[in-house]
Subunit: 225 residues, 2 copies
Amino acid sequence: MSKQSIKLTVDAVVFGYEEGEISVLLIKRKYEPFKEKWAIPGGFVLNDESLEEAVQRELQEETGVKINYLEQLYTFGNPTRDPRGRVVSIAYFGLVRPNTFKIFASTDAAEVAWFNINELPELSFDHKDILELAIKRLKGKITYEPIGFELLDKKFPFSDLEKLYTTLLGREIDRRNFRKKIIGLNVLDELNEKVSKGSGRPANLFQFNQKRYFQLKKEGIIFEI
Amino acid sequence: MSKQSIKLTVDAVVFGYEEGEISVLLIKRKYEPFKEKWAIPGGFVLNDESLEEAVQRELQEETGVKINYLEQLYTFGNPTRDPRGRVVSIAYFGLVRPNTFKIFASTDAAEVAWFNINELPELSFDHKDILELAIKRLKGKITYEPIGFELLDKKFPFSDLEKLYTTLLGREIDRRNFRKKIIGLNVLDELNEKVSKGSGRPANLFQFNQKRYFQLKKEGIIFEI
DNA sequence: ACTCATATGTGTAACTTTTACACAAAAATA
DNA sequence: TATTTTTGTGTAAAAGTTACACATATGAGT
C-alpha cells in the first residue's frame, strides 16, 4: 500500500443579501491553476488549526470578511477535482451582512467581488458544484432554521424579511399570512422604532430574538415556514 | 509555512433494523491506538479512490458488509481527535438489511457486532460524537426522505413500517392515521401476497416503489410524515 | 395645502389537513 | 368452538392554511 499523499483544503461559500438580491463572494485567483479565473475563497488547512479556524483565516486573508454564520456544507473528494493532484476540500457555507465591512483582495486573490447568484461567472475546479449545493442548502434551510436573519440588518422592517423569503423561495408570498406566521413563531421583538425609506407609510422595526428561539427550540417547538 | 501533513480517513456509521430494534455496526480494534476498544468501521483513504469507494472498501474488508444506502454525514477535523497526529475523518451514514448477509471480522477488526443504539459500548476516538450525530440524522431524516424502506425487507407488512417509525420517532403513532398518510403518499405498491407471523390476521405485503417516488419528487411533491 | 402615489398594517371566512377514536375480519391457540 | 391476537377500515372535530380588500401613514408633485 502506497503512502497516503492527500492534501486538504477548505472552501467557503459566503452569501450576502442586499436590496432583493442574493450574492455570493468570489475571488479571482492570482496563481495557477485556474489563474485569473473566479473561485470560491479557500485554501489549505494548516496542521494545527481546526477546520473552522482554517475557513475563517482564509476568508480573512483573501477577502477581509469576518463571517457571521458558518456551517459545514459537504466534503468534495473526487480524485480528479484538482489538476495539481489529490486534494479533498471541505466546503463551508456562510452568511454575512455585506454592509458591515469592506471587502479587499489579498494573498492568493487578485480580486474579490459579490456576484448575484443568478449571474455567476465560470468557476474554477468543481466550484460550480459546490456553489450549486450551497444555494440549494440555503434555499432549503430558511424554511426550517431561522438563518435568514443573519442576512438582514439587526433591526429590519418586516418587508425586508418578506422580500428575502420571496427571493429565496422564488415565489410570491401572501403578505398578511406570512406576517401572521412569523409573528406566531414568537421569535421577533417588535421595536418602538420606525424607518421610512422613500415614500409610503413608515415601517416598524423588528429584531430577531435568538435567546427566545433557543428557548423554544429546547421546548421542542420548531421553527417552520 | 510548514508542509501540510494531514491524514484522511473515512468512517461509516451503518444502521440496521430487526424486530423493533435499531442497531449499529461496530468493530473491535485489533491494533493501537484504542486496541481492543469498539469503534466505527473505517480507515485511511487511498490516493486514487473516491471517498465513497474508500468507505465501501473499508466496510467490505473489516466487516463483510455491502451497503445499501450511503450518504455523507459530516467531516470531523478537530486537531486532537486522533492521538497519532492530525487525522481528519469524513463520516458516512449507511443503512442495510442485516439479514441479507453474514458479518465477519478481518484486517483491522478483531470482532464485528451489531449494537442496539441504546446500549452502546465505550467508543474509540471521537466516535461517540459521530454516532450521536448519525442517530440524530437518521431520526430526523425519516420524516422527509423515504429512507426507512432501506431498513426493511423489500416486501414488508404495514406493521413493520409502523413499528420502525414508532421506534425511530420514539412515540406511539395512530395506526389508522399513519396508514392513511403513507398510502396517500403514493409510493407503496400493495402486493397480492399475505404473510402471517404467529397468531392474528395475516397481513398484506407492501413494496416501496422507488421509481414512483422519484417521479413524484420531480413533480415537486414531497415525502413528508 | 391639497391630491396622488406608495408602502405598511390588519381580520375573517373557506378550505385543507390533522387528529382522535372503535369495531369487524382473519387467522392461531387453547 | 370460544378466546386471543393482529390486521384493516371511516368519520367527525379540531387545527392549520389559504385567499382576499381596505384603511393608514408618509413623501412627491402641483
